[in-house]
């Protein structure tokens, strides 16, 4: 294994001098550069996604009122500055798509799997640098297509991010189901190809390229999380691809996979024998694992950051791995909980309730293990640590309401209300975003060789934390009052008039929270060029990435790849002077490796 890695290194050194601007910054095959490319593309998509959410929140708070922001950004979709109902649906659709796939899948997993897998397992690079490059550029292409879809004549896709047919299949049912939906589907198909290439690369790299001594039970939990995430991705993404392809067939070639017996705009369509419920099954077979594809990497990052900043080993390393595996397995057999009231057999509803509520068990184990990890620690309140604690907080708050939504009997009444929005934004949206921020604050020195400004980090965290709760906590209550999601305005239902003020408060929190992300963006981009130069191991961590030089180089380590002698969590181990022992330090005489 290491012999192979070393030859690889020599190759790299041979080519080192021939690097041009294009091969270094654009068509780079170096995993560290690709990680940065993912991060910056993801950041740009994130800005667009968040801006969209602020616009539709303004519409919900002040329905059908003219708004300068709409007039400036929406053009013909906001005549006299009043947001159009179709573009409202398009905004919620594209917001969901961008945040789930482009930011929290590619931006999060793409960035940190690429950056950390080779560095933490002790490899010169990914198994295939070329595939890795292709993976990024496919992602970039799909991002560009998604953005282009915003500008088509009849409007972008507006069928919700779940694009259920027939709404998404029939241009006469919704303006966004014309060219906008075609581009959406093409963009997603390319995105899936990108994701699969990435995932295969991660899996092969973790299995084959670990350095000497790096057994699976010495891997940092980040790597376990990325590895299992990649496996889930490989299992479930192809199913979405098939759903997208079948939908394209229905839309463009007259097949009837998902359509049957439709009468619209005065005519009967020829479709017969298909079922929209089939699409729901295919979609959620990816769609549910997808939320774990989003949250598991965040869990991995948070586990690592919590241990490092608490100066304590992660509590229950084996239990953490087991719970990742349990969550991954269960995640593939719970998709039906999105479909309790879809018209599928109620008996299936019972089965999916059972499997869904089981997920609470490994999730609870993880939450308690994180809490025990900080217990009696010596907690270093770096911004990354604050975001990690914030992660556990929102994961608990959002996760608990899953007990209600996973219960088919209760789902009847809160399905597709704001209760659902509150639940999934806290448990996988905000939590994963916190995980991503934590990762960025923690590994920024590794990525850019400079430090992020910590005071701006504190400001960023505390305002974001307050606004996140301010936005999503009251939403549970609005949902329990029965307000459906995806309503352009609630003014046609006097029943909901008493929720108007709450909606205004939520929107104000959203605006402030969104605006304060500018603090982060400023910090991020300024620090890349003017941040304080980083030391080699600023957080005094044990993992291998901190043994590489600050200045990036092909092949990661100038000499031989370090060997590994211990697990990655020897923090504050008795018998050592320092409060951390890097993985590449051999066991002292008589020292026992922890039987974890």
């Amino acid at each position: 294994m290491s012999a192979h890695a070393d030859t690889h290194a020599h190759d790299d050194h041979g080519h080192h001098h021939k690097e041009t601007f294009v091969t270094k910054y654009i068509f780079s095959q170096d995993h560290k550069m690709i990680a940065k490319q993912y991060l910056i593309t993801g950041t740009i998509m994130g800005v667009i996604g968040v801006l969209m959410s602020i616009m539709f929140r303004m519409q919900i708070a002040w329905p059908e009122e003219p708004n300068v922001l709409f007039e400036a950004l929406l053009g013909k979709w906001a005549p006299d500055g009043v947001m159009d109902a179709d573009i409202y649906l398009a905004l919620v659709t594209i917001h969901g798509t961008i945040m789930v796939f482009f930011v929290l899948t590619a931006g999060l997993s793409g960035t940190f799997s690429n950056l950390l897998i080779p560095l933490q397992i002790g490899a010169r690079d990914m198994a295939s640098g070329f595939l890795n490059m292709v993976s990024y550029w496919l992602f970039f292409l799909s991002s560009v297509i998604m953005i282009i879809s915003l500008f088509v004549e009849a409007g972008p896709a507006a069928a919700g991010w779940t694009i259920y047919p027939p709404l998404s299949a029939l241009p006469m049912a919704s303006g966004g189901s014309g060219m906008g939906m075609t581009l959406w589907l093409v963009s997603m198909a390319i995105f899936i190809a990108s994701s699969l290439l990435g995932s295969l690369n991660y899996i092969v790299t973790v299995i084959n390229l670990r350095t000497k001594g790096m057994s699976m039970t010495r891997l940092p939990l980040t790597i376990w999380a990325f590895f299992v995430t990649a496996v889930i991705g490989v299992v479930s993404f192809p199913v979405l691809l098939s759903a997208a392809l079948l939908l394209i067939m229905d839309r463009s070639f007259g097949t009837s996979f998902f359509l049957s017996d439709i009468f619209i705009q005065g005519e009967v369509l020829h479709y017969q024998g298909g079922s929209p419920v089939l699409f729901e099954h295919l979609f959620w077979f990816l769609g549910h694992p997808e939320v774990y594809i989003v949250i598991l990497p965040a869990m991995g990052l948070v586990s690592e950051i919590m241990a490092s900043n608490s100066r304590k080993p992660i509590f229950g390393y084996r239990a953490m791995i087991m719970s990742i595996l349990a969550i991954a397995f269960l995640s593939t057999i719970v998709w039906g909980h999105h479909m309790f009231i879809s018209g599928m057999n109620p008996f299936l509803g019972s089965v999916f309730t059972f499997t869904t509520l089981l997920i609470a068990i490994p999730s609870a184990v993880k939450a308690f293990n994180w809490i025990t990890t900080i217990w009696k620690g010596n907690i270093q309140m770096n911004p990354a640590m604050l975001f990690s604690i914030g992660f556990v907080s929102t994961f608990i708050t959002g996760g608990l309401t899953g007990i209600i939504l996973g219960d088919s009997a209760l789902d009847i009444n809160v399905h597709d209300t704001y209760f659902v929005i509150a639940h999934f934004h806290l448990v996988m949206g905000i939590s994963a975003l916190y995980g991503m921020f934590a990762g960025i604050y923690h590994w920024f020195p590794k990525m850019f060789g400079r430090m992020l400004n910590k005071n701006l980090g504190y400001l960023h965290f505390w305002v974001t934390a307050i606004c996140a709760y301010g936005v999503f906590f009251p939403m549970h209550f609005i949902g329990m009052a029965g307000l459906p999601r995806r309503y352009y305005t609630n003014s046609n239902f006097p029943l909901f008039d008493d929720l108007t003020n709450a909606n205004v408060v939520i929107t104000l929190f959203a605006i402030v929270g969104g605006a304060f992300q500018l603090v982060y963006l400023y910090n991020f981009f300024i620090s890349i060029f003017f941040g304080k130069k980083a030391e080699q191991n600023p957080w005094r961590s044990t993992t291998l990435e901190w043994t590489t030089p600050v200045e990036h180089m092909h092949g990661n380590w100038p000499g031989e790849i370090p060997h590994v002698y211990r697990w990655s969590y020897d923090y504050s181990k008795p018998g050592h002077d320092d409060d951390f022992v890097p993985q590449n330090v051999p066991l002292k005489e008589g020292e026992e490796e922890l039987q974890h």
Binding site: D261, D407, A409, M480, L594
Partner: protein, 353 residues
């Protein structure tokens, strides 16, 4: 005007951020700062963790205070509704206990064990007993919830045909609802969208040759007799819709190409519900708010004052006017119901020849 104000606020915030950024930068000139948390940072953020814990509790209490009447979690208007409400309340209480407890532990530990130079953390990597405890407790609690939940679900979803329920079709199209009553034979006539004949006013595609169809009654309002089981058969002619009847704790998607169903027994008439003290209070509150917005509401041509009615809402995104796809539901006594139904045209008589 609001838009203008919003923009000003956004600009103001942007300027404020920029100013703060400058201040932070200035404060750091010359001082030794390697951007790693110092003891001072640890202390400050430790206290902020406790403050944040308080914030979580405050926002919880405030949400209950302002939004806690939860009209759709109490005063269920169907017989199975109270079972759902009970289960919901049990789950909620459980959630709030766990939430309060775990958030306390998390934030309190973050405060209590904030870093100090020279202190060493406890090397504590594993404890199988602890892991077993917090695996076992969720298992037991969830087992209880799962059993209770599945029991409730099965009772709700298994429609007992021997109760002889009134069969009503709910028919969804962009962007309105129709109801079709089965008539005296209590059997709906066959229907398919391919049979729709707009010229003859056969708008639901009912099979004109089916004898069962002749006495069917198509309406745009849903009337239900109190205390009688109803079985809804749902159809959609174009895209997915969802028939959401929150007061009755009922919801089911309407799927083109298939018939879905949901059954319940309404237990409170509209008239009685309007007398319910909670509803009276809620309506008064809403009307006070509506009076404040009088001009705006009248400009839209809506009724100024709100009166309570049960509603059927569309709860699955279905296109442009999804936000206004509703139908009024009236629950009344058997006599009122019979009288209303007899006034409606039967399908046979509604056709244009």
């Amino acid at each position: 005007m609001t838009a203008f104000l919003t923009l000003i606020i956004v600009l103001f915030i942007a300027v404020a951020i920029w100013q703060m950024v400058k201040i932070f930068d200035l404060a750091q000139v010359g001082s030794h700062n390697d951007q790693i948390a110092t003891d001072k940072d640890n202390t400050l953020n430790g206290y902020l963790m406790m403050a944040f814990l308080v914030f979580i509790y405050v926002i919880t209490i405030a949400s209950f205070w302002y939004l806690g009447d939860l009209p759709l979690m109490s005063n269920a208007a169907s017989e199975h509704g109270s079972e759902i409400d009970n289960l919901m309340i049990i789950s909620m209480v459980l959630i709030f206990i766990v939430q309060t407890f775990t958030q306390f532990l998390l934030h309190y530990f973050a405060y209590k064990y904030k870093g100090e130079k020279g202190r060493k953390a406890l090397f504590y990597a594993d404890n199988n007993t602890l892991e077993a405890i917090w695996t076992f407790i969720p298992v037991v609690v969830l087992a209880g919830l799962i059993i209770y939940g599945l029991f409730t679900w099965t009772t709700i979803m298994n429609v007992d045909e021997s109760d002889d329920p009134i069969v009503i079709e709910l028919y969804a199209q962009q962007f309105n609802w129709k109801a079709r009553y089965a008539g005296e034979d209590n059997t709906l006539g066959m229907a398919n969208v391919r049979l729709i004949d707009i010229d003859r006013a056969n708008i639901l595609g009912v099979d004109e040759s089916d004898p069962n169809a002749q006495d069917d009654v198509i309406t745009t309002e849903l009337h239900l007799p109190v205390g009688k089981p109803v079985l809804f058969k749902m159809r959609s002619q174009d895209v997915l819709h969802s028939a959401y009847m929150p007061h009755f704790r009922a919801q089911m998607n309407c799927v083109p190409g298939m018939i879905t169903q949901f059954g319940f027994t309404p237990s409170v008439t509209t008239a009685d519900m309007r007398q319910n003290p909670d509803i009276v209070e809620k309506v008064a509150n809403i009307n006070a708010l509506r009076l404040e917005r009088q001009d705006e509401i009248e400009a839209k041509g809506q009724e100024l004052l709100y009166e309570f009615d049960y509603l059927l809402l569309c709860n699955k995104i279905c296109g442009t006017s999804h936000y206004n796809m509703q139908m009024k539901i009236v629950v009344e006594t058997q006599e009122e119901y019979d009288a209303w139904l007899s006034e409606q045209k039967t399908f046979k008589n509604s056709l244009i020849n």
